[in-house]
Amino acid sequence: MDQGKTPQTLGEELRRRGMSRRTFLKFCAAVASSMALPATMAPVMAEALAGARRQSVIWLSFQECTGCVESLTRSYAPSLESLIFDFISLDYQHTLQAAAGHQAEEAREAAMKAHWGKYLVIVDGSIPLKDGGVYSTVAGETNLDTLRHVAEGAAAIISVGTCAAFGGLPKAHPNPTGAAAVTDIIKDKPVINVPGCPPIPEVMTGVIANFLTFGKLPDMDHLNRPLAFFGDTIHDRCYRRPFYRRGQFAKRFDDEGARNGWCLYELGCKGPVVHNACATTKWNQNLTFPIQSGHGCIGCSEPNFWDKGSFYAPLSSGRWGSAEGIAAAAVVGTTVGIGSAMLSRARQSDIIKKG
């Protein structure tokens, strides 16, 4: 293939980079299997992806820390996942684009106009609503206005990270900026949430590959998360689960149980109620995930995870506030008890007197 010619399809781009068809098929089989699609869909996906044309993507960054972008773009080594990210036409992204200032905003408007109704919008970060949304603006426009404007011509929206999906850290109590999720604002477009702080890159690849292959978003759970990756809990797939069953728990991060790799439930692991693919897809090229590295799951892919008590309090420990309510209940109970006994005594005395 002519090295100077701009590739029109993903297949051309991959061939230009020396990617063999065998490797590409393996990738498609892996993506299809991770998306819980039947094995017969792998060649279909390969054909569709190879012929897929550059997908225009507009990436909006709002109240965020750029951790999601770091997670998705800085893989350990160049991979097919990153090639897909290279292949999509990222027409607007603050951190990655060369253009700046008015030029950047003009590029976004031009991309929207050219691909109206077909472009994908990726959002990372929450959207402040309080005080007219003044707490986060880009080029003089509030995030709220930008989102509404850009979403109008979008084919679909992918909320990347817990901030965009559920409000995340900016929404944590007392939520000073009135931070909200994309789904709180956009009601008339298909929105998929890929939460996590940060999210797993392979989940993004799967969602984009699914969209390029089938022209639609994958099946989702009740929180709009791709079911294939968020169907199981961390606990369901945790390699430390046998220790949970046997009642073997690490009690400190440096005790014998921790060194033996026992269950981290007692140290606050939220795995039983957290849905994500960390325990199966893992991180850093399928090398490890937080529990494997010795720290319990903090539940970063669930709504309001910042406000659900200490990361280090066991899941079964109640959040009972203070002892004052209980003490008051004891005082009130005793008083009512004594009062009812006195009432009974008075009635008994009356009966005796009447004789």
Binding site: G318, W320, G321, G325, V332, G337
Partner: protein, 219 residues
Amino acid sequence: MDLLEFARGPAMQWALIILVLGITWRVAGIVFLKRKSDLSEPRTHGQWFGAVRTILSRSVPAPAFRSRVLYSNLLGYTFHIGLAIVVFAYMPHILWFESILGFQWPALPNAVISVAAVVTLFSLVALLVRRLTSPVLRLISNFDDYFSWVVTVAPLVTGLMAVADMGVGLRYETLLAVHLLSVWLLFIWLPFGKLGHAFLVFLSRGTTGALFARRGART
């Protein structure tokens, strides 16, 4: 606030408040009742001994009735011991107690807890069957008996479902929330119905034993 957060937070706080309020109310209401003054000479001064003796002696069936009450006694002991194992020897439960009491104790493996829970459940079902099939028991049973059975069984069933993740379509976190809410229902009902025996049984037995001992009756 999702259902699990509600169950772990406000629902638990209110259930505990009602539990403590109800228990103190019932106990204070009984302790401060007017007592009939006994002017007779006490036959014995070992009233405390009599109280303890009655508490123990009434924990085993009297020889005369043994064959008639053996079935319910054995099942009663089975489910009470089973419940104690499930409640006090399961690590997540111990961690809940620790969050309130500030200390913990050793746990049993989950397999032992699961067996204890299933045995407890079958014992409770067998006792309900007996209550429903015995004409005498049916006659003297009221809403309190059946509702107390339901609120005792519900945490067992929901707990087993949560452990096995058998949610009939419900997600684990919903099952866990339902389990917690069923326990809070038990807490709320406990002081006001027949389940109040949990904190009254030794008080009433002891009082009876002490009175009997004073009068020289066999306890």
